[in-house]
């Protein structure tokens, strides 16, 4: 038996964002934009979806008079990501 893949994570950009955030302690919005090559608007929408799901925390502040957005994965997000990878591996091993 295997579970359905988490629909929040099973989307290209959201999964990319989560994969980046699991690798670091916290990251600026510009870092995510640079690494995913997605548009700012698109990333904003996906970040909000991840935030609403409780998978990431978003901190908005000012750095040298410029707005700065910092994203950080939450313990719930780590758990969901690990579960997603585990389910993915189960799917792939069944396929083989």
């Amino acid at each position: 038996m295997f579970k359905d893949l988490d629909p929040i994570l099973h989307s290209q950009l959201r999964l990319a964002v989560m994969s980046l955030l699991i690798s670091v302690k916290e990251a600026e919005f510009t870092f995510i934009k640079e690494k995913t090559n997605a548009s700012a608007g698109n990333i904003s929408v996906q970040i909000n979806k991840l935030k609403d799901a409780g998978y990431i925390n978003v901190l908005k502040q000012f750095k040298d008079n410029y707005p700065q957005t910092i994203c950080k994965i939450t313990p719930l997000g780590i758990k969901a990501f690990e579960e997603y990878v585990k389910n993915l591996q189960t799917y792939l091993s069944i396929k083989k």
């Binding site: 989307s11 670091v24 990251a27 870092f31 690494k35 698109n42 993915l88 396929k95």
Partner: protein, 197 residues
């Protein structure tokens, strides 16, 4: 990258691997701190060694340079943290290790001068190996792992060597533990910077 593109399981796994590797690849130290401290400690050691034979009285005070160098170190650390767009999992641990090393070496210097501890040169070399080895291990950076181990090997040799010759070993330890890894980090950083231009 689009948000709702349907993903196969293979594509998902490939995307995760690629993003994790992109985040890892982005972590590059500038190497400036390692180069600076390697140069300063090496310079001070050689001046102490030469000062003994040349009877330079001022050579006794050359180690105060290491206290002065804390100011550019703080400036470098602030600039680097401002430049960095993300914080890695072990950044805080690294800062903790190097701050502890700085405080520890300052207190040890005070202690050895207060109680006129003999053969203190060996203690410094042992001390140099600790943050170097820990950083190398945490960052998976072999030149620093090797640098730390060589520091301890040099420390063992130094047990049988007295001042001023021990100063040459201190210079060697600084070159191997900091200067050479700093050069490697600097080259990597410059290469990465040129690739991104």
């Amino acid at each position: 990258m689009s948000e709702e593109k349907p993903l196969t399981q293979e594509e998902s796994l490939a995307l995760i691997t690629s993003m994790i590797s992109k985040a890892k690849c982005d972590y590059e130290e500038t190497g400036i701190s390692a180069l600076m401290w390697g140069s300063i400690v090496c310079f001070c050691s050689i001046i102490s060694f030469a000062g003994f034979y040349q009877h330079w009285v001022w050579a006794n005070y050359v180690w105060f340079l290491t206290i002065v160098a804390v100011i550019p170190q703080i400036i470098i650390a602030i600039r680097e943290s401002k430049r960095r767009k993300f914080k890695s999992h072990n950044d805080d641990a690294m800062s903790g290790i190097w701050i502890s090393f700085g405080v520890g070496i300052f207190l040890m210097s005070y202690f050895v001068n207060l109680f006129k501890v003999e053969h203190e040169g060996s203690l410094y070399i042992i001390f140099y190996g600790i943050p170097t080895f820990a950083t190398g291990l945490a960052r998976n950076f072999k030149p620093m792992i090797i640098g730390g181990i060589i520091c301890w090997a040099i420390a063992i040799v130094s047990f049988y060597i007295s001042f001023p010759d021990i100063m040459l070993l201190t210079a060697l330890a600084a070159i191997i533990a900091w200067f050479i890894p700093g050069l490697i980090l600097r080259r990597r950083y410059q290469k990465l910077k040129n690739e991104n231009v």
